[in-house]
Amino acid sequence: MSTTTLPPTEKTQPVSAPKGKISDRSRAERKLGWLLAGPAFLVMLSVTAYPILQAVYDSLFSYRLTDPANRSFTGLTNYWVILTDQLWWTAIGVTVFITVVTVAVELVLGFGLALVMTKALSSIRPVIRAAILIPYAVITVVSAFAWQFAFDINTGFVNSWFAWLPGVGADTDWFGDTWTSLLVICLAEIWKTTPFISLLLLAGLAQVPEVLQEAAKVDGASWWQRMWKVTIPNMKAAIMVAVLFRTLDAFRVFDTIFVMTAGANNTESVSFLAYRQTIARLEIGLGSAVSVLLFLAVVLIAVVFIKGFKVDLAGTRGDS
C-alpha cells in the first residue's frame, strides 16, 4: 500500500503580495496590513532586534561591567577565545545530547498522548487533556526542584523505591556523575515539555481527513498500516513544526541545569556558559559573544529545518 495524502489544493494568491500592477484595493489592504501589524512589529524590533544588535556590538569589546572605563575594542578576539576553548565544545556536546534525547523521546511520548486525547471518550476528554497538560503549566524552576528533591540522596524517594533496579541503591548519588546527572535533567525536561509536543501533534491529528482513514479501512488496511501510511504522512507538517519548536526550545536549556547541578560534572549547556560569563563573571563582551553564537546556532537549526526538511510553518494552520 502506498502513502496516501490529499492532493495539493490550489493555493489562493496572497493578497498582500500581488504580482504585476497593484490595484487601489490591494494598496489599501497593504496599508491596512502595515497599520495593523506595525505596532506589534515595532514592539518586536525594540524588544528583540535591539538587544540582539546590542549583543553583537558588545561582543566585539573587552568589557567588564565593574570596569567600564577600560572597555576596549578587540574585534573578533572574544569569538576566537570561545571557539578555541574546550569548555565551549563540551557545552555544545551536552546541549546537543540533551536536545536530541529529549526531543526524540518527547516526540514518541507526545504522539502517544495525542492519540489518547483524540481517541478518548468525549465525556472524559476534557479531563484527560487537562491532566496531560498540567506538567506544562508548572514553572520550569519548580519542576527542576521537584525532580532534584526526588533524586537527592538525602531527601529523595527514588533510591528507596527503585532499589530493585541494577545500579540503584541507597548510596546512588545521581548528581555526582555526568551521565546520571544528564539522565535526571533529561527526565525532568521530558516530563515538563511532552505536553507541548502532544498539543501540537493533537492539532495535526485533527487535520487528517476521516475520509482517507475510512477508505484505507475499506481497502483492508490494518491499524498499523493506517498509522504509517495515512495518519503520519498527512500530519508531517505538524510533526515537523512540533519538532522544530521543541528543538529550538531544548537547545536553550538552562533552568533545570542551573537548579540541579549548577554546571558541575560537565553538565554545562551553552546557555549556562553565557550566563556564567555575563552574569557571574560580569564579562559583558565575552558573554555577549557566547550569546551571539548561541543565537546563530538556533538560527541555523531553524534554517536547516525550514529549508532542509521543507517545514511549512503555515501547514498546521491548514493553509497548504
Binding site: L200, Q207, A264, T316
Partner: protein, 450 residues
C-alpha cells in the same frame, strides 16, 4: 507559538471599513494619557516623614529585620530603615547588587555583603567612603579578621557586622572511642584515622560551590600559603600561590579525605546543609562547619525532631591542622555592612550602621540567629555564653581565621578553583594546584572561558 496551532483563518476578501481619523486621534490621545500617568506614578517619590533607608539583607531568621526596627525606633524620626531581602546564595546576592549598583540604583543605602566580594565592589567605586570618625568607632573592638575582610587597598570600605568561622565539630563519644585528646589541636590525618577506626563519617564541603573554595583556601592558609600571594593592578599579573608547597600539602589533605571512605556516598555534592544533616545521624563522627550547626540542633530538639542526647554529644574545637606544629587558619566568613555610592543619604546610612552594629545588637543577633559577633565584647556577655557555650572557641578561631583571596576578581578565582578542585576525588597533589593556577591566569587574561 500559538499561531502554529491556530486553525482559524480569515477569508482573504474580508475587510473592515477604515476607522475615521477622529477615532484614531482619540485612541492615540488616550494611550498618551495612560502612558503619562504611568510614568508620573513611577517617578513620584514619597514626601513627608523621615528619609527611608533601604537595607539589602541576606536571608536570616528575622534578626536583621528586628535590628532595623529597633534602630528605626532609636533614631527618633531622623530615619526609618526598611529591609529588602536578597537571594539565598551569596554569589546570587552579589549578582543582584552589582547589577543594581552598576545602574546607579539610589535605593541601595545599606548592604549586607559577604566579605570576599567587598574588594570587587570597592574597586568598582560602588561603595561610599567610610567617614574617619565612623572608622575609628566601628573598628575599636572588632576582631582582626573582620577588619581585614572589610579592608581594600589599606582602606576600610565596609563596617564589620558579624564574623563567621568554621569549627571542628565532633561527637564526644566517637572521639573518646578513638582515643583522641580533643583538648589538644588535631590534624586532618588524625580525624580521618579516627573516623576510619570507629566506622563513622567525616563531613566536609566537596560540592562545586563557594563552600569548596572556602575549604581549599583554609587548607592552603593552614599550610602557610595563600591562593593569591600578591594582587596587582593588572589582573593578568596576579601572583598565585597554587604551585607552592603549601598548596601541594593542601591537595594531599583533600585527596586523603576524598579517598578515605568516611565522607559518605555524596561527597561531591555535599555542602554545609547536607553535612549538618549527616552530622545529626547515628554514624556521625566529625565535621568542619559554621556555628549555625548548634542553633539548628537546639531548634530541632525544641521542635521534637531531634533527641536531646544528640546535641549533648556535640563537641567543638578549633579547625583541624594541616601541618602538625603550625596553628590552623580556619575559614573566615560573615557579613559586613557597606553604603551604596549612589545612596541619597550616606550620612544617615552610616549613622544607621553604627546603630545596627552596637554590642547590644550584635549580642542579640548572635543569641537569636546564631551568627557570631565581630565585636569581641559580645563574647564576655553571660547570656551569649549560656546560649553558645562554644563562644570562646569561636573567638579563638576568629583570631586565627584567614580571609579568602582578596581581589577584585574574586569570582573568577573562586570559579576556577571550583572547576579544578571538583570533584575532590580527582584532586592530585602537585598537579591540581598548577592546573588551577594556569586556569586562573588564562581566565584573568581573558584567554579562556569559565
Amino acid at each position: 507559538m500559538h499561531d502554529a496551532v491556530d486553525s482559524s483563518r480569515m477569508p482573504p476578501d474580508r475587510r473592515r471599513p477604515r476607522r475615521p481619523r477622529a477615532r484614531r486621534a482619540l485612541a492615540a490621545g488616550a494611550a498618551t494619557a495612560v502612558l503619562t500617568s504611568v510614568l508620573a506614578a513611577c517617578g513620584g517619590g514619597g514626601d513627608g516623614g523621615p528619609p527611608d533607608l533601604t537595607w539589602y539583607i541576606n536571608p536570616d531568621s528575622g534578626g536583621q529585620a528586628e535590628i532595623a526596627s529597633r534602630c528605626t525606633d532609636a533614631a527618633g524620626g531622623r530615619y526609618a530603615i526598611t529591609v529588602a531581602q536578597l537571594p539565598r546564595e551569596s554569589s546570587e546576592q552579589r549578582q543582584q547588587l552589582i547589577r543594581r549598583l552598576a545602574a546607579n540604583d539610589t535605593s541601595i543605602d545599606i548592604m549586607s555583603l559577604d566579605p570576599p566580594y567587598i574588594p570587587e565592589f570597592a574597586q568598582a567605586g560602588f561603595l561610599a567612603d567610610v567617614p574617619d570618625e565612623v572608622e575609628q568607632r566601628v573598628t575599636q573592638d572588632a576582631v582582626e579578621s573582620a577588619i581585614e575582610g572589610s579592608t581594600w587597598n589599606d582602606e576600610l570600605v565596609a563596617v564589620p557586622f558579624w564574623a563567621n568561622t568554621q569549627l571542628l565539630w565532633y561527637r564526644k563519644s566517637v572521639a573518646e572511642q578513638a582515643g583522641l585528646d580533643m583538648t589538644q589541636p588535631v590534624t586532618w590525618e588524625q580525624i580521618v584515622q579516627a573516623a576510619q577506626d570507629t566506622g563513622t563519617t567525616l563531613g566536609a564541603q566537596g560540592i562545586r560551590a563557594e563552600a569548596l573554595t572556602v575549604w581549599v583556601n583554609a587548607l592552603i592558609e593552614s599550610a602557610g600559603g595563600s591562593i593569591i600571594e600578591e594582587a596587582t593592578e593588572d589582573p593578568a599579573d596576579t601572583v598565585l600561590g597554587l604551585e607552592s608547597e603549601p598548596a601541594e600539602r593542601a591537595a594531599e589533605v583533600i585527596a586523603l579525605v576524598a579517598d578515605s571512605g568516611v565522607t559518605g556516598p555524596a561527597f561531591s555534592t555535599a555542602g554545609e546543609d547536607a553535612n549538618v544533616v549527616g552530622f545529626e545521624s547515628e554514624d556521625a563522627g566529625f565535621m568542619v562547619n559554621w556555628p549555625f550547626v548548634w542553633g539548628r540542633a537546639l531548634s530541632a530538639v525544641e521542635g521534637g525532631t531531634l533527641d536531646r542526647s544528640v546535641p549533648d554529644d556535640y563537641g567543638w574545637a578549633v579547625y583541624p591542622r594541616v601541618v602538625e606544629d603550625q596553628p590552623a587558619a580556619p575559614p573566615y566568613g560573615g557579613i559586613n555592612l557597606a553604603v551604596g555610592a549612589s545612596s541619597l543619604h550616606p550620612d544617615l546610612a552610616y549613622e544607621a550602621i553604627e546603630c545596627i552594629t552596637t554590642t547590644e545588637n550584635q549580642a542579640y543577633y548572635m543569641t537569636t540567629n546564631g551568627n557570631p559577633a565581630s565585636d569581641t565584647a559580645v563574647y564576655d556577655d553571660p547570656e551569649v555564653l549560656e546560649v553558645f557555650p562554644m563562644a570562646p572557641v569561636i573567638l579563638e578561631s576568629l583570631e586565627l581565621a584567614a580571609s579568602r583571596p582578596q581581589t577584585a576578581y574574586y569570582s573568577e578565582v573562586s570559579g576556577s578553583i571550583q572547576r579544578t578542585y571538583h570533584p575532590p576525588s580527582s584532586v592530585t597533589p602537585g598537579a591540581t594546584g598548577p592546573e588551577a593556577a594556569e586556569l586562573i591566569r588564562a581566565v584573568l587574561a581573558g584567554e579562556q572561558l569559565l
